[in-house]
């Protein structure tokens, strides 16, 4: 613990890393990494768009337009193989087709 007279210098120099836990959720929001994110399926626009978040891959499937958009946020993993992305996208489409059946 620093001496009383050094308090201001200590506070100004302290990066407060020991308090990082209290901003973990906020940092996830800022850096868009996968901490705390759970796989989820969100339906939007009266069920016409199906959005699926699995691992770090975000897939949107539009009904009627036969269109698919895949967004990958790197998070912890630096790279994602095309196979992995395609797998998640195909799974999303299959889920959608099953839903129609």
């Amino acid at each position: 613990m620093p001496q009383k007279k050094d308090i201001i210098d200590y506070i100004l120099a302290d990066r407060g890393e020991e308090f990082a836990a209290r901003v973990e959720g906020l940092d996830c929001l800022i850096y868009r990494n996968d901490l705390g994110l759970k796989d989820e399926i969100i339906e939007d626009h009266d069920g016409k768009i199906r959005q699926i978040l699995k691992e770090n891959v975000f897939v949107q499937v539009w009904e009627g337009k036969a269109k698919i958009r895949v967004k990958v946020s790197p998070g912890k993993k630096e790279t994602f193989s095309m196979k992995k992305i395609a797998d998640i996208a195909v799974n999303a489409i299959l889920d959608e087709l099953k839903k129609e059946e």
Binding site: K5, I11, L12, D14, G16, F19, V23, L26, L29
Partner: protein, 314 residues
Amino acid sequence: MAVIIVCPKCAKKHKVNLDTVKEKVSLGKKIVGRCKSCRHRFPVQLDKLINQKKERFQRPKTSTRKICVTLSKGGVGKTTTSVNLSAGLALAGHKVLLVDTDTQGQSSYGLGKKPRAGLAELLTKKLTPEECIVRARKNLWLLSGGKSLTEIKRVIDRKTFGAEWTLSKVLNKLDHRYDFVIIDTAPGWDQLTVNVLFYGTEVLVPVALEVMPLHGLSEFMKSLGSIQKYRKETVLKYIVPTFMDTRIKGPSTIYSQLKKLYPEYICTPIRYSESLSEAPSYGKSIFEFAPGSTASADYKELVRKVTLDDSALL
């Protein structure tokens, strides 16, 4: 007995003698007021006003609340929030001292005042509190900032003991005169900001709903942890989202995420309004410049949150 009725549209106050409406009240009729200034018609809850007045007289004087408005990131609305929160609290009948610790000294500009002296002269004991504090509005006093505060930073640096209490030593002697002391801070993280956080007990953080200000919030919360090692009384109480643009999706998404993360601190957002940027040019608070604006309504909501009084400024 007379009560004060405030027009919800233009904030004009009207003194009403209860004897004149006694008959209507006893018959249980609804009372509708009409503002003499803007002609706005609005319902008046007279029984609520009477009860409030009684409570105010019966309520014992509580200790002064010291609220620091701070975030190291600039341009998030610290001064705008300080000025309008102070003005709103004053309108609600509380005695407020607004202390500007920014070398830019824009709080005075926002209230249309040009004080000759301020916080720097008070801290260096060149002048007395009476000479440094100016009355800006009814119930609202101002201790201005400005360039002269750079000298104060050198004074703090030269101290070898208790430098973090420099501001507290001076303000503690006079803050009992007020219900609220609102302290506006400069962007950045320096010895004067540390002093403010050693003086205040409640921290209000205005944050624009974008990634960079959120990063500033994250860094600030860590820095606040460093302060709390030495001063546990200083606590984060309010996160006020500012510049909320409801036309685009991003800010709403960030706001809902922040609500999930910090439900105990998050306040109703201050929606983006052109009036907020225009009001300082006229030296007026948002309640004076655009009383019917969304920003005025949002700052009134903030006043209600801070005072824990749901009927304040209604």
